[in-house]
Symmetry: C2
Subunit: 337 residues, 2 copies
């Protein structure tokens, strides 16, 4: 069987099974130093150092030329920003703050040195802004360009996880969605449109701002269930629900679509908001009283968008304003299809 | 200018300069939790957690299909082993023990699921053997296969570094060299030779055994200057010397070439030993009295092979048994040439 037949989700499940076999014999040095608090399968993994009770979070994310970006839609400096941003977003989803980055570049031999300089300029910008630091990495020749970032984070509390959503929880999102996908589509369609709405969408695609502060606000208010939105709101909610063994409904009319979307894509703005991807906001669930306490303190267009239910694990139903199921017009991002 | 004109070393120097710009503003959370003890440019980076004084080491290494391996010379299970091994070796070079691994796979959609299963079987084998654990990762579609591993290590003492070699130090190596390069060449030449020597060389190429125990022995004996041999003994010694601002001589007749090399490659076994690469033994320097105390306690063919000198930083001269300079027949591995 080829991995394209199995799909991303199926392959990830197999790999989690296979890697469990490496679990048994952690070295004696390590187990006397920390304990694992979040294992394989979440936004990141996390260990808590035994003596000073600091929790360190680990995540990694990769972008491949022609698959996850093109130089037409993402200039080198923005690519550097985004490669770090997707990792910062994973750290944010656990309620941690970004710390140390390892940057690996796979580069064709004809790559221009000035382009790599721009790439690092973009990485430096976001590192400065979010308190991260590039501490090492690797550079190799490759027929196709790729960039892999591994990032640590520091948390003072127990990390939020994907496995803690429970029936009766409300579902929140920390900011507006769909802007990045809208920006990408507008650039690919090359409509020639200009103006503030286009700038907003292009900016959402090229310079996403991970919700680190929001993640810490969630933790401070007792939220324990969260993940970041990278593959599309509905799709990622499905992953969160699958990890928690629950189902969910999304109230479509409550989804905070990026404001510029409706003017540029008057027909399918809602599909872009629900299924777009690369939003890098946080999706979280909490009991109604916790949700009520936290939602108004979030600064960037947060909203309550649905409810966690008993049901087939991972099943997500989108309801329209009349409470009727809405047919899914798009599909989430599958890395191997 | 293209990176192929600049070369790997030149590009690495530039990147280190560019990333220094991200250094200034490490977040307040991080700096209250740990301090950086080894920065960008060594086998790995390292931070020491302030309260429990544990030092955590971070390293990453990448292998690209067709550049660093082929499925003909490295079966999937061995590829898994090697992808972890090169990182374990970096951790060993700092005197630390391996801990947590993040594994990123870039895979063409036609990749067979069974091959990925084999890959993880090989990774699990080496993780079990060296006390490491796969705690997360990423999988993406890519037109060319690649595997990136990021690995942490735990050290109870100050890590050994590349910057601490001093004139008057003797140079030691913790084991024999050239076996991996010999094995690769024998496979590529497809001589059809069989027998124990060929098995030894093929095994050295496919299943290198990083010198974790040796690294800890070095640290315990007060060695502070070390790196692992991945790009070839002479070439890596040049890097260590450049980082330390010193020169060196290698006494060719003291280099512990893998025993099977001479029988299979009677003419250029010494070139393979000096310039071969992927040996994953440790190269270290120490004052004569420290060297005398440590060298006999190393179990796998360790030897004193040369001396650190004042001179042009990074200049390495190979001397033959009569003390005459030996012309360099090979060159180290440049990732972009």
């Amino acid at each position: 069987m080829r991995i394209s037949d199995l799909g991303e989700f199926g392959l990830i499940q197999l790999v989690q099974e296979w890697t469990r076999q490496s679990d048994s014999d952690t070295g004696p040095d390590a187990s006397s130093v920390y304990q694992t608090v979040v294992d394989n399968g979440d936004d990141g993994a996390a260990v808590t150092f035994l003596r000073d009770r600091v929790t360190e979070v680990y995540t990694t994310d990769t972008m491949v030329d022609g698959i996850h970006f093109t130089s037409e839609t993402t200039p080198w400096r923005d690519l550097g920003w985004k490669a770090i941003a997707s990792n910062v977003s994973d750290v944010a989803a656990m309620g941690a703050t970004p710390a140390l980055a390892l940057v690996t570049l796979g580069l064709p031999a004809h790559t221009l040195v000035d382009d790599i300089k721009e790439l690092y300029a973009g990485m430096n910008e976001i590192c400065r802004e979010f308190g991260a630091r590039i501490i090492g990495g690797d550079m190799v020749r490759s027929p196709v360009g790729f960039i892999t970032v591994a990032l640590t984070g520091i948390a003072s509390a127990e990390p939020m996880v994907r496995t803690a959503a429970r029936p009766g929880h409300l579902i929140g999102v920390t900011g507006s969605v769909g802007g990045s996908a809208g920006g990408l589509r507008a650039m690919l369609q090359a409509t020639g449109d200009r103006g503030p709405s286009m700038d907003r969408l292009t900016g959402a695609h090229r310079r996403p701002r991970p919700h680190v502060t929001e993640g810490q606000t969630l933790v401070a208010n007792g939220v324990v269930s969260a993940m970041d939105v990278s593959d599309g709101l509905a799709d990622d909610l499905g992953k969160l629900c699958a990890a928690s063994g629950v189902a969910a409904v999304i109230w479509a009319d409550k989804v905070p679509a990026e404001s510029a979307l409706k003017s540029v894509f008057s027909e399918d703005w809602l599909d872009l908001a629900l299924y777009g991807g690369e939003d890098y906001v946080l999706l979280f669930t909490a009991p109604p009283e916790v949700m009520a306490a936290v939602i108004d303190g979030l600064p960037r267009g947060a909203a309550v968008i649905g409810e966690v239910l008993d049901g087939e694990p991972g099943a997500v139903t989108v309801l329209d304003a009349d409470g009727n199921p809405r047919l899914r017009a798009g599909a989430g991002w599958d890395h191997f299809s």
